[in-house]
Amino acid sequence: MSAEGGHHGPIDPLFNPVIPGTEYHLPIYNFVITSWVIILILTITAILATKNMKRFPKGIQNVWEYAVEGLFGFYGGIMGEERARKYGPFLTTCFLYILLCNYSGLIPGAAMIKGFVPPTNNISITAGMSIMVFLSIFYFGIRAKGIGFFKHFFQPMAFLFILNVIEELVRPVSLSLRLYGNIYGEEMIIGKLAEMVPFLVPLPMMVLGVLTGGIQAFVFTLLASTYIAGATEEHH
């Protein structure tokens, strides 16, 4: 912990290399590295789990099968079995990545490391994720329905066009701010408590943090899946 505003003050980039051939810097912050580590963990465990799959899963394959089956079942309840298989991989990746990001702040001692924050504690990461969701709504929607996808902007009545556009644009804003705000608030409280009394006192907040991290990952994915379900819906 440092005197200049604890670990929640403005942080300097860990590395700040110059992009070759230009005068611009490419700052690499701590949370970016945390995020890379999480991506690596997800990728490596996924490869290990699927490398030689057994009929009766054991160990790591079991964990992954449990997670993927549970999540696909959940998406199936929202958008139907068939579409869940189609869009499930994207949504599952979102969920697992956000979950691990949120929980990375709860690693014992993490709050003591200067500059260590969960990646979802940064608006750039959450904004990036919600822009991905925003673009995927259009991509999946146009792929499923062609140009007819844009018809929903004029439904139920044509004069609601402007409201529909605003509603569409608010989605990434609310997605990113909801995730960022919840994790930021939780991390802030844990950080301040750990600064005052490092032992035992932050524990109840950390328990709440486990809850918040799970719920926010769930809510983000749930909203993304309802948006995608709405965009790819066939009208019978």
Binding site: G73, F74, G77, I78, P156, N164, I166, E167, V173, S174
Partner: protein, 74 residues
């Protein structure tokens, strides 16, 4: 699809938890988009006012859509 009901409960819970923030985000989005447009076009305060109202209306509409999803029927 036997345990659909359990999932439906969680879905409802998650959507309800997200509703409040969606409303707030819509209003704020309307306000900030309006004030940015006002600065851009130099039409203070009219676009802020209009976008604020439109943002609020869009928030209400998304709450309506949440309560009466249109995927059934049609």
């Amino acid at each position: 699809m036997t345990d659909d009901n359990g999932y439906q409960g969680y879905k409802g819970l998650g959507l309800i938890m997200s509703a409040g923030f969606t409303m707030a985000a819509s209003v704020l989005f309307g306000y900030f988009a309006g004030s940015w447009l006002d600065k851009y076009f130099g039409t203070k305060p009219w676009l802020t006012l209009i976008m604020f109202i439109l943002g609020t209306a869009a928030g209400l509409k998304s709450l309506y859509n949440l309560a009466f999803p249109k995927n059934e029927g049609d």
